[in-house]
């Protein structure tokens, strides 16, 4: 329990659970409001709702790890060995999401190229064969 007495930690837990509840309600209301469910015709851009949700979720994660899991009261070296490796995930998120949107753009380009009409020029008297996808199977 670290430096807190029983009564102190009890009231702290009560406080934290109320904060977590309020954040959760706010997140849901904000998500629905951003999509126009609560006030007719009011929409927020996805960038704003997205950032607000992610920041609030990180706040919730902080409260759960630091208060409920008592990370706050652990030795600093232990905290570092657990938390520093998770920073690698920042790289993973950026790299993979970047790749994901690249696939999307690539798919768009491929679709455009496929729909582009090219008339084959067939020289007179020369026997030609147009390659189809079957030729590559």
């Amino acid at each position: 329990m670290g430096h807190l007495t029983y009564e102190e930690s009890k009231s702290k837990a009560n406080k934290i659970i109320i904060i977590l509840g309020i954040i959760t309600i706010f997140e849901v209301v904000f998500a629905l409001m951003g999509k126009g469910y609560i006030i007719e015709g009011l929409h927020f851009p996805i960038a704003i709702t997205g950032i607000v949700m992610i920041v609030l979720s990180l706040v919730k994660a902080y409260l759960i790890v630091y208060e409920f899991m008592h990370m706050k009261y652990e030795a600093p070296a232990l905290v570092k060995t657990v938390l520093l490796p998770t920073l690698l995930l920042i790289w993973a998120v950026i790299a993979f999401f970047w790749e994901g949107s690249f696939w999307k753009n690539r798919r768009g380009t491929a679709k455009m190229e496929n729909s582009a009409q090219v008339k084959p020029v067939v020289p007179q008297g020369v026997e030609t064969k147009l390659l189809t996808t079957r030729d590559f199977d």
Binding site: K10, A31, S57, I64, A75, L89, V93, F97, G100
Partner: protein, 323 residues
């Protein structure tokens, strides 16, 4: 004499640094430390799943809208976006709180307190699992989403549905509107028989479904595919393809697999958590941990695990339901 000096030097070194041996630099027991590292590795597993979800979602032109997909509530209610998952979140948060209380009572060496608060935590875990069972049952049984088939699609163009006689006189929809494909025949009728007037409203522009289709084939207003999904025909009203007749298609395939695997993996954590909570509650009740006189450290360890399950849910809730 030489030995004495050596011992003396070592004691001095220990005072200077926590890393010279003789005491635990992390001030934590082996079990607790390893629980932290297990949770760290588990966090990476979940992060891998969630990043895969994000990557696939980013790579698709459209993606099912969560507040359309998750809008059912027990008792036949529909169009209640996110209400049910919010309830699930609160159940898990509440069980996290009761777990904190159990750990606190453990530090007080209060056996009855530990057992009572762990009991509430177990009830919370079981309630969460029941909610998830209902959610899965709705998606699998009534909305026909499976690991490989996703009936939740999104329109990319403004259009108007064809009516049963093939004329473009049905309901109109905008680009970005979500739809849920229904199945032809009895399957869907059953699903809505238990519902009420609200049930019919679920799925924009699908007020009539199923009745007049006899098996797979091409009909005037829809195509029924081999799995029995009714792909309604519509006339495009705007854009490059204006005037063309198109049919609806199934939504991104990966959605079903990602949903069932990620929430399933989380649910499996909750399930194993409940099993371990029961074991540790029984052990607490028999007085096993009282004898150990270490402030119910076992309760603290399962507490770490249980909070981690809650922590993962925060992020599952974020990426699947909120964004």
């Amino acid at each position: 004499m030489a030995t004495d000096t050596l011992v003396h030097e070592n004691t001095e070194a220990t005072d200077k640094s926590a890393w010279s041996g003789g005491k635990s630099p992390f001030k934590a027991s082996y079990g607790k430390l390893m629980m932290w590292y297990f949770l760290l590795s588990d966090a990476f597993t979940f992060a891998g799943f969630l990043i895969a979800y994000g990557t696939l979602r980013f790579s698709m032109p459209t993606w099912p809208v969560p507040d359309f997909v998750f809008s059912s509530f027990p008792g036949g209610f529909h169009e209640k976006p996110l209400y049910f998952v919010t309830l699930m979140t609160f159940i898990l948060l509440a069980s996290s709180y009761t777990m904190v209380r159990a750990v606190q009572e453990g530090h007080q060496e209060n056996k009855n307190g530990v057992v009572v608060w762990m009991f509430w935590t177990i009830l919370g875990g079981i309630a969460f699992l029941s909610c998830q069972a209902w959610e899965w049952n709705t998606l699998l049984g009534k909305e026909h989403m499976t690991v490989t088939k996703n009936p939740f699609g999104t329109h990319t163009e403004k259009g108007i549905y064809l009516t049963a006689d093939g004329k473009a006189e049905g309901e109109t929809f905008d680009a970005g509107a979500s739809y849920l494909l229904h199945k032809a025949g009895a399957g869907h009728g059953d699903a809505h028989a238990e519902g009420d007037a609200h049930a019919e409203g679920h799925g924009d522009g699908h007020s009539d479904h199923g009745a007049h289709y006899e098996g797979p084939g091409d009909y005037a207003d829809a195509v029924v595919n081999e799995d029995g999904f009714i792909l309604k025909k519509f006339k495009v009203l705007e854009g490059d393809d204006a005037g063309m007749i198109k049919t609806e298609s199934l939504g991104p395939k990966a959605f079903g697999a990602l949903f069932f695997f990620i929430t399933g993996f989380h649910g499996f954590h909750v399930l194993s958590g409940v099993v371990f909570l029961i074991i540790i509650m029984v052990n607490s009740g028999t007085g096993l941990y009282t004898k150990r006189k270490n402030g119910y450290e076992m309760v603290e360890k399962i507490g770490l695990y249980w909070h981690f399950v809650d922590l993962v849910w925060v992020f599952v809730f974020l990426v699947f339901y909120l964004l």
